[in-house]
């Protein structure tokens, strides 16, 4: 089925802050609703013409069972605007964009807000199974004697909480921590600690310079925060201009504590943030005089062994190159999320090393990505990785970078917990 052109009209993101920092008290809907309001204002489209709001979110907050709809309402869109939440783990934001692409490309819809959000600061602690059972029995008990006998079964270990974020970072199928999946890649492909630390350090410096030079100014929309909601944050909290390879080398391996190479320093931090695109059909672009930033060329999601999930981008990019008939040389910029330095270096190796490519069943060696075209403003290690958002955040960053470079094509790709990769190619339309 051929799809009609689908435009990326306006894309914005919130500043990203390490969990527990400046944005810790901002509930997830408010990390993104204001982006939509801004885009509606800037494009001057009426608030009642949006066909859907599709939002990627992984740790969907208990208070907002369908955060997509909540965001639509909190953004001031007309109450008739529907909203959905979508979850493809780390690629949730990209999955939202992919769905919007199909919906608009097929001619069903004209205007969709697609994006992602995650407040990792607000992931809850939960009661464990034993305690939950005790509560359930307590509700069932009718007489005081029954109630007492239920309560008598209480043991202190009932109070050991389940930390949602910890659970979320362990693969339920392979039962390995995300960090361990990076360790596996490092071990199998001989990616050294030094290589990882150097890469992480480079990411921090690029991000710090980009922040200092105001390269994120167009993509970040300042956000209100603080206890009294009277502060405004306009930059990422995470990039460190004073990072050094020596400093990173001092950090202890976190996941494989004895023989590992993956540290907190060469991995991305858990983060709060949101990102969003207004996507539109040709018809809508004409009707509302929109000036799209970019166009979706194609995208691809691909699965692999959960314990090697970090290689996902290799497979996803392979897929989207084949779908679009394009190659590395056609791309002016790559935004590949950095979940772990080891993981990203593994992907790059897979593009040039036949042994690695063969291991993952990739039959094409796509070749080297020029250094200056890969994550030119730093990546997840410095900027953070608000899981639900990153899939759309990297497309936002990519589109703005293409615009600045007056370049044409760009690739956004990321690895996905659970063993997947996602990749999307876009074409810059800003002259």
């Amino acid at each position: 089925m051929t799809l009609k052109p689908v435009y990326l009209v306006e894309g914005r993101r919130s500043p990203q802050a390490k969990a527990g920092m400046d944005l810790k008290d901002v509930q997830a809907p408010f990390l993104i609703n204001y982006l939509i309001r801004h885009i509606v204002d800037k494009t001057a489209i009426p608030n009642d013409v949006i066909d859907d709001v599709i939002i990627g979110c992984v740790g969907n907050p208990v208070k907002y069972p369908n955060i997509g709809r909540v965001i639509a309402l909190e953004a001031g869109l007309h109450k008739k605007t529907p909203g959905a939440t979508i979850n493809r783990n780390c690629a949730a934001g990209m999955a939202a964009m992919a769905e919007a692409h199909i919906r608009i490309g097929s001619g069903r819809d004209n205007l969709i807000f697609a994006g992602g959000v995650e407040s990792m600061s607000n992931m809850p602690l939960m009661f464990n199974k034993k305690m939950t059972n005790l509560f359930a029995n307590l509700f069932k008990a009718k007489t005081p004697v029954q109630k007492l006998s239920v309560l008598a079964k209480f043991r202190p270990d009932f109070l050991v909480p389940i930390i949602a974020i910890q659970k979320a970072l362990i693969d339920p199928f392979a039962n390995v921590n995300m960090g361990m999946t990076a360790e596996i890649l490092a071990r199998e492909f001989g990616i050294t600690r030094k290589e990882q630390d150097e890469y992480a350090n480079y990411s921090h410096h690029k991000a710090a310079i980009a922040t200092k030079e105001g390269r994120f100014k167009d993509e970040i929309l300042p956000i209100i925060y603080g206890k009294n909601l009277d502060r405004i944050l306009d930059k990422d909290i995470g990039p460190r201009g004073d990072s050094s390879v020596e400093g990173l080398a001092k950090m202890r391996p976190f996941f494989d504590k004895k023989a590992g190479t993956v540290t907190i320093g060469n991995a991305c931090p858990v983060t709060d943030g949101g990102s969003c695109w207004l996507m539109a059909s040709e018809e809508a672009v004409k009707k509302y005089n929109l000036e799209p930033m970019a166009r979706v060329v194609d995208w691809h999601f691909h699965g692999l062994e959960p314990e090697r999930m970090g290689m996902g981008p290799l497979l996803a990019m392979d897929g989207v190159f084949k779908r679009s008939g394009m190659k590395v040389d056609d791309m002016d910029v790559f935004e590949i999320n950095e979940a772990f330095a080891a993981q990203l270096l593994g992907v790059l190796r897979g593009m040039t090393d036949k042994k690695v490519a063969d291991f993952f069943g990739v039959d094409t060696l796509w070749g080297e990505i020029p250094k200056e075209n890969l994550n030119p403003n730093g990546g997840g290690i410095a900027l953070g990785h608000p899981v639900g958002s990153t899939g759309s955040r990297i497309v936002v960053t990519l589109a703005h970078e293409l615009k600045k470079r007056k370049a044409k094509y760009g690739m956004a790709s990321l690895c996905v917990g659970g063993g997947q990769g996602g990749a999307m190619i876009i074409e810059n339309l800003c002259k």
């Binding site: 509930q27 408010f30 609703n33 204001y34 309001r37 801004h38 509606v40 204002d41 800037k42 001057a44 909190e74 001031g76 300042p222 209100i224 009294n228 909601l229 009277d230 502060r231 405004i232 306009d234």
Partner: protein
Amino acid sequence: MTYNKILFEVKGEIAYLGFGHNNEKSMTVLDSESLKDLDGIVSELKKSVKAKKVAGVILHTLKNGCFLAGADINMIASLKTEDEAATGAAGGQRIFSDLEDLQVPKIACVDGVCLGGGFELVLACDKILASDSNKTMFALPEVKLGLIPGFGGTYRLPQKIGIPNAMDMILTGKNVRAKKAKRMGLVSEIYAKEMLLEMALRHLKSKEKKKSLGKSLSHFAMDNFVTRKIIFQKVREAVLKKTKGFYQAPLTIIDVMESGISKSRKNYLPREAAAFGELCISDQSQNLQHIFFLMEGTKKIKGSAKAGNLDRGAVLGAGTMGGGIAWLMADNGMSPILKDINLEALELGLKQSGIVFKKAVKKRQMSNDDFERKQRSISPCLNYDDFKNTDLVIEAIVENMELKKKVFAELEKYVRDDTVITSNTSSLSVAEMSSAMEKPERFAGLHFFNPVNMMPLVEIITHEKTSQEVVASLHKWAVRVKKTPIIVKDGPGFLVNRVLMPFLNESAYLLEEGLSIKDLDRAVLNFGMPMGPCRLLDEVGFDIGLHASNVLHEGLGERMKPCSFLSRLVDQEFLGKKNGRGFYLYDEKGKQSGINEELASKLPSKTIKMDEVDIQKRLILPMINEAANILHDGIVESAALVDVGVIFGLGFPPFRGGLLRYADYEGLDRILECIENLASGVSAVRYEPSPYLKNLVEKKKKFYD
């Protein structure tokens, strides 16, 4: 018999009284016709009950959002003598007592507002059921009009909810919503409004539960001689403190309630009716009723049919005023855009707004979720990118004509052609600002008073080219955001500041002549103003006052020349409360503590003593004189608008009915004579009698004729 105002039906031995029958207006009031209907219905019911044809009575409303909004104020205003008023009250009391005495259960189903006489009516029922609508509320606002509830409310309410709660409601006139009314024991149960009548039938059948032990105990604690004595004493003290003794109605209410608390209904009610008669024709009540009508008047203007909806707002400049206006817009669902030149400035604006919201959260008038939503509905920004959807832009940047002109010229490039653009200037010429614009017809002044959340007045300032549609839209918008708008023509100081400035200027002259800060402020406070001129200058800022004064001087001539004493203070960096160098010292919370001796030492060493009345004359007469000039220049259309301006913009004492009503009351010939005396005794320039005033005196007319 048929009734025109009340829908009277008997269905299955239940009598239904539906209010709002044949009423086209949104609010139903108890006018003389509906009271007559009620009287007829109650006498009919008496017979039916005796004949066992009616076993229960249900009162309800046919209107959405209104049960009964009280007695018709036009009816009250038409009462001419004490006797007539007292008899009127007694008549109502008798009907309500007859209703109360019917030997069947009576239930009131209240949905919407239930105020004054309407509230007193439902108190005569056995039970009140309320709807869960947020429009449902109970209040006895009579005190705000200088009256006592005259239909038995002061007798029945304490019986229902106890003396302390009843006193609180009666003396403040405040609204009590359904939930709180239930907690107080005023309302038996709350239901969805659609279920009220069905549930009322159930209540008619069920027996009244006995009072709980706790309730009986608290009742016992309140209902003995000693505690009652203490309660009334405390209440009286509190009222005196709050009203500074200026208002007589609250004190009369306390007297009536205290003297009659243990009396029977028959013995109590005549005293209430008599007090109503006495208060109703008092000057104070007449003045307060006058203000009520003034306020009602501001809600309507000519050409209102042309008014458009201003839904989306934007504010330029995030200072004290800008932040306050952003709060107002956010609170009223306008999701304002707040623009300034850097993040620090924007944060100040957010802080302004946040403080007001947080106070409401603290007082539980607002939930935390609503705070989050409303405060976050403000979009802080540094450019005009997002202004295309705005309907109303209010500029609140620094008072600099050239800068403002530049801003408006730029702004016009980014907004729609029909976006209304306004300036919150307090002193600059609106006409001149508009000269820089491509479409001056969409431009007007919109002058708010500080602090925006507290001050009800807003001056809509028009210039020659302002279109009727724009004026009508701004007026409609101001009413929607619960402000009191007055339409004022462009001119130095517009209305309020032009009246205020001679008062402040004259204060400075008095200080220069050797009057003490204390004597000056006390005289003004004793006139009934909310604060003395020194305190007011502290709040306004000396520099701001001087600036406004200079603008008026430039525009209106020598009579407005600022007293040199004020400019000397500004030169010495005395700016008022904001830099901690004003007439008074303030603690951390901004509360006034004592005189600032550093400033006091700048006052002349030779001191003078003046009679309080003479001080008041020196200050109030120039205001009256300037108000006459304002009418002469056609800045506002009527004396009524001047009075709305001074009451809601300056806090001119409401019990005096307004500046010009006060002047009328004192007699304009006397006023003119005093002004002429001051012209010869103090300053011929500053006290030059207004030709408008002279003309009125000549023709033996009043401001309000």
